[in-house]
């Protein structure tokens, strides 16, 4: 990229405006030609384009300068920075013209709607810090902050997370749990030292959940050897077969640069390349992905309208062959009806697939938890719960959370694979119809103008992407941090009241053998009690998680079914319209025929013009996005 960020910003906005313009034109056409079904689809697409959400999660060990980094990126002092106290509540920052802040509280019942409360913007910081957490009776789960910020204008949401590995360590699992919902992950480490093992382990796991990862190495103004550290980190990446870009930055210098409006300092701060990376690799790319699906929608809508007139045109132009045409169209109509029916192959694939996936995910969870329970039993048998309970419960929480996250990964992977299969089947069947209707599948239309990135995957992308959007949409930023947070909270309750104080000091003060047997009996009793508590906890988690997974899978099913049902309806309507218009054309007399033929030709020309515009736009998009 040789263009400056400023120029880039205008072109990307320009492209978006152009896409919206084309959408409106096509919508007009679909309304004019009396296809409310297509209009509705275009409306949905338009909403998606006009108000995109791109989630960037900022993750790292605690006290690495995440909040300072977020402040530098948003050009606002929105996240509190403190020498000691760390961020303890995730903060989601979005763009808005007027600054507002909302606190969302935790509820004890996961089914219940979370309580939201608007707070004065200046107070937001207080809710985010470690110390404030236990202040009220309610625990804060998420703080949402809206403020005007140039980087966030294109729908970017930056999420500042509590540090991984702090004293309140269950945070880690909450962060893991939120990963699949993020479009990208900015991993923050600092120049004080090379990567540690926990950091690389985290990145290894994160890679499974989030495809777009990049790193910032902070505090380069303070550590003289930061270049060495970058080199060391890169070689660690190489050995671990990871390849994420690393951006050395200094938030302190950036702050100075903004205050004094000093360009040299801004360059020295290292921020410009990071911001550029976010713009090109995250915002532009996800815009590109969105626009790609817009183009796909536009092409298929215009093709369907086109097919109607094409059939009529054929019937009018060559009345002798109209009988042939009619019987062909009738066949097509039947095919389209089949595609809508419950017996269609894609429907079967979808309902079978969901059932299989549900039981697979559930089995996987039970299997994991059974192994975990065995481990806990062994661990408790070998120790005295009085001494180890606190560490043990923390360990159990961590392990459970890890297992839940891994299980969740299975669900996500399975859902995407299923979406791919359903899409494939749908398209195979659809080709039967589109071929007969002489509708070019969008992919083929695009293939003809051969756009670098707009390859055949476009048809696959359509649904795969929609599943993820569906999943993300159904969970939302709020639930990203909600799901696991609930379990962690539950465990904290269990941890209390476990230790029986009467038995504790027995071991402390007496070294006599006489009470050894009694001690042994008490120990066994404690172990038993501890095991029961652990089992109950694991049971509760299994119950909760499997009900959540079922809900998530139902959501996937609904999203996919609605999506393709709508497509099938559209196709059926197109086939129907084509048939009816062709039939009507037959009934017309010579004069009417000629007159109508002219009209239809004019309509076709208009639609072709629109199509040309869309294809031209697609071409431009292909070049820009590459």
């Amino acid at each position: 990229m040789t263009s400056t960020p400023a120029q880039q910003g205008t072109t990307s906005q320009d492209i978006q405006a152009h896409a919206l313009h084309l959408l409106d034109l096509t919508k007009k056409a679909s309304t004019a030609y009396n296809r409310p079904d297509l209009t509705q689809r275009l409306n949905e697409t338009r909403r998606h384009v006009a108000d995109p959400t791109i989630r960037l999660m900022v993750v790292g060990e605690f006290k690495k300068g995440k909040s300072s980094l977020v402040n530098a990126l948003t050009l606002a002092e929105v996240c509190p920075v403190d020498d000691d106290i760390a961020t303890s509540v995730p903060t989601a920052i979005r763009h808005a013209e007027t600054p507002t802040a909302t606190v969302i509280y935790e509820t004890s019942d996961p089914e219940e709607e979370n309580e939201r409360q608007s707070i004065p913007f200046e107070q937001a910081a207080g809710f985010v810090m470690e110390t404030q957490r236990s202040a009220g009776s309610k625990r804060v789960r998420l703080v949402e902050i809206d403020l005007p910020s140039p980087l966030l204008q294109n729908g970017l949401t930056i999420i500042d997370t509590p540090g991984v590995g702090g004293l309140g360590s269950p945070n880690t699992s909450v962060t893991y749990g939120a990963l699949p919902m993020a479009d990208a992950l900015l991993f923050v480490t600092d120049a004080s030292q090379e990567f540690t093992k926990p950091e690389l382990d985290f990145l290894h796991t994160a890679q499974e959940f989030c495809p777009n990862i990049f790193c910032a190495l902070t505090k380069t103004d303070f550590f003289p050897e930061w270049r060495r550290i970058v080199e060391l980190d890169k070689s660690h990446f190489k050995r671990a077969e990871l390849a994420f870009p690393i951006f050395p930055v200094s938030s302190a210098l950036h702050r100075r640069a903004v205050q004094g409006d000093n360009l040299d300092l801004r360059t020295e701060s290292g921020y410009p390349p990071l911001v550029e990376h976010i713009k090109t690799e995250l915002i532009a790319k996800s815009q590109f992905v969105t626009l790609r699906s817009v183009v796909s929608d536009l092409i298929s809508v215009t093709q369907m309208i086109h097919s109607q007139f094409k059939a009529e045109h054929e019937a009018l132009a060559d009345p002798d062959k109209s009988a042939d045409l009619l019987s062909r169209l009738e066949g097509t109509k039947e095919k389209a009806d089949e595609l809508r029916s419950r017996l269609a192959r894609w429907q079967q694939t979808l309902s079978d697939g969901i059932q299989d996936l549900t039981s697979h995910v559930e089995f996987d969870l039970r299997h994991r938890m059974r192994n975990l329970t065995r481990l806990t039993d062994d661990a408790l048998d070998a120790s005295d719960p009085d001494e180890v309970w606190e560490e043990f419960s923390a360990w159990l929480q961590q392990q459970t959370a890890n297992q839940v996250v891994e299980n969740y990964a299975q669900l996500t992977k399975g859902a995407i694979e299923l979406a791919r299969r359903v899409t494939e089947h749908f398209h195979d069947d659809q080709d039967n119809i589109t071929d007969r209707l002489e509708i070019d599948a969008p992919s083929e239309a695009l293939a003809r103008i051969s756009l670098g990135e707009l390859d055949a995957s476009i048809r696959k992308f359509g649904a795969g992407g929609k599943v993820m959007t569906g999943l993300r949409g159904s969970y939302g930023t709020m639930l990203m941090f909600g799901m696991l947070g609930t379990y962690v909270g539950q465990m904290a309750h269990l941890a209390i009241g476990m230790i029986n104080p009467a038995t504790v000091l027995l071991g402390v003060f007496s070294g006599k053998k006489a009470i050894k047997d009694e001690k042994k009996r008490l120990l066994l009793q404690r172990q038993h009690q501890a095991k029961t508590t652990a089992h109950r906890y694991v049971d509760d988690v299994v119950f909760q998680v499997s009900s959540d997974s079922r809900a998530a899978l139902r959501q996937v099913q609904r999203t996919l079914r609605n999506e393709y049902q709508q497509r099938a309806d559209e196709l059926q309507k197109s086939a129907q319209e084509a048939y009816v218009t062709a039939q009507n054309a037959r009934k017309k007399n010579q004069n009417e025929c000629q007159h109508r033929l002219k009209e239809v030709e004019a309509e076709l020309k208009r639609i072709n013009t629109l199509r040309e515009m869309i294809l031209h736009f697609a071409k431009r998009l292909g070049v820009k996005g590459a």
Partner: protein, 497 residues
């Protein structure tokens, strides 16, 4: 009147010797004999203090600061790869221990750290390096530098853990540990837990001190960084999890301490130039390390000199030194040196070491020896196992110091229902703030004997009342009895003196 009764170390020695005698001329006990031999050596030697922590916590830097000269090599990347002992020696000597063999190693030392030539030795196969060095600082304490935990070469971390945690047949190699953390990370907690043997005296915060290292880096090196670090350490000190693992947390700026101990006249002159240059110019230089080490500037100090200062003091050290000179708080190299050491927190750490580890030296060593013996009896079949075990149990239950340690642990674990004021006083009486009588009573050193006696009686009757209070729970009564015994012990010691 340092500690009382002094006999526990003799008891430990005697018992170890008894066990050792039993191993004589028995083939199958030869290995046990070796272990007991080294245990006995250990009882006679100085206290062994290991310096541990995650990688890059600043372990080697702190070691240098404690010795007072730059011995251990330090680097930006991971540096210490072999467990290295620094002990007092008559001459300068470096040996390596590999597969049970002792190998002499050539070494060089110019201006800075010792450079050891490992020759054909592979780091993985070397169990330790022993550096003998004539140094007064090493007279009472042998310092052990360890490779960092949470290292990416898992191998190194594992060795440190294996070294510091008690094995099957012997107690941990170090009597006490300084655990360095930057911010307290969950890894740190896990490690501290592992270091605590549960065998005889249970987990004990007595032999571990937490150190908030690299304190100068808190808050990106602002001038008030050390103040912030102090606040953080205060908070950690009160943290339940840490309280049961180490007895206190101290902030230390290792680099500042190390350089403070060895500041040179030329370095002071360079700092003077910076301090006397126009403020706007120095401010620009001090903005970032890159500017300080590379940027051209009208300040009359060559870039090499700036780089040297940066490597010796860090950006914070340079900023602090300039401020100190600028505000005329220090006027020459030796004043600056003193001020840096003072601010680094090294003195507090040294005092803590003297007060805690050195005055408890014998108890800690005896404890280690007895734990070793316990493990050996457990593993090998001695002809007189029964007798040895009884003796061991007698010492453990009759030595009041061990009971005190156990009570301290119970208090730290939150198992004793005292009020917070009672907890502070009880911990003090148990020797958390120093093991000698006046520290235990919270009195000044020069206090008159009658005042000491009065205070002891006050404490005694206070805990007696607590023990006899009908609404006190059983564990409170037990705890109060231990404290009563402590007060009585103090009175006995005073009477003897």
């Amino acid at each position: 009147m340092a500690s009382y009764p002094p006999s526990v170390i003799h008891q430990a020695k005697n018992l170890t010797e008894t066990a050792l005698a039993a191993t004589q001329s028995r083939e199958e006990l030869a290995h046990a004999g070796d272990i007991l031999h080294s245990s006995l050596d250990r009882l006679n030697g100085p206290l062994r203090v290991a310096i541990a922590g995650k990688i890059k916590a600043g372990k080697s830097t702190l070691l240098n600061a404690l010795v007072g000269e730059e011995l251990a090599p330090t680097d930006a990347g991971e540096c210490t790869r072999i467990i290295t002992w620094y002990q007092e020696g008559v001459t300068y000597k470096v040996v390596a221990e590999s597969h049970g063999k002792i190998i002499d190693l050539p070494f060089t030392r110019d201006e800075s750290a010792i450079e050891v030539d490992l020759g054909d030795l592979v780091a993985q196969e070397t169990s330790r390096i022993i550096i003998s060095w004539p140094s007064s600082a090493l007279h009472t304490i042998t310092l052990i530098d360890t490779p960092g935990l949470a290292s990416l070469s898992t191998d190194l971390s594992e060795r440190t853990i294996a070294f510091l945690t008690p094995g099957e047949e012997q107690a941990a190699q170090a009597d006490a540990v300084l655990y360095l953390m930057r911010h307290v990370h969950s890894e740190d907690i896990h490690f501290l837990e592992a270091f605590h043997d549960n065998a005889v005296s249970q987990a004990t915060p007595v032999n571990a001190i937490g150190i908030l290292s690299r304190a100068d880096e808190v808050g990106g090196g602002r001038l008030d960084s050390l103040e912030s670090a102090k606040k953080i350490a205060e908070r950690y000190k009160k943290d339940q999890k840490l309280r049961r693992l180490c007895q206190t947390v101290l902030p230390v700026a290792g680099l500042l301490a190390q350089t403070g101990c060895s500041l040179r006249e030329a370095e002071f002159r360079a700092l003077l130039i910076l301090a006397n240059a126009p403020k706007s110019e120095t401010d620009l230089l001090l903005l970032s390390v890159d500017r300080f080490a590379h940027a051209p500037s009208p300040v009359d100090l060559p870039i090499e000199a700036r780089r040297h200062l940066l490597s010796r003091l860090g950006l914070f050290g340079v900023r602090l030194s300039i401020a100190l000179i600028h505000h005329k708080i220090v006027r020459n190299a030796s004043q600056l040196s003193t001020e840096l050491v003072k601010r680094s927190g090294l003195i507090e750490l040294q005092e803590m070491l003297a007060m805690q580890f050195s005055s408890r030296n014998e108890i800690l060593k005896a404890r280690t020896a007895l734990l070793t013996l316990d493990a050996v009896i457990e593993k090998f079949h001695f002809p007189n196992t029964h007798e040895l075990r009884n003796q061991l149990e007698r010492i453990f239950s009759s030595t009041h110091e061990f009971t005190e340690i156990r009570l301290l642990n119970a208090i730290r674990a939150g198992n004793v229902r005292f009020s917070s004021e009672e907890i502070t006083d009880a911990e003090q009486l148990l020797g958390v703030r120093g093991n000698n009588i006046h520290s235990r009573l919270g009195l000044e050193k020069q206090e008159d004997i009658s005042i000491i006696r009065k205070k002891t009686f006050d404490e005694l009757s206070r805990w007696q009342r607590r023990a006899e209070n009908p609404i006190s729970t059983r564990e409170t009564v037990e705890a109060a009895r231990v404290l009563i015994r402590t007060c009585e012990g103090i009175l006995v010691t005073m009477a003897a003196a």
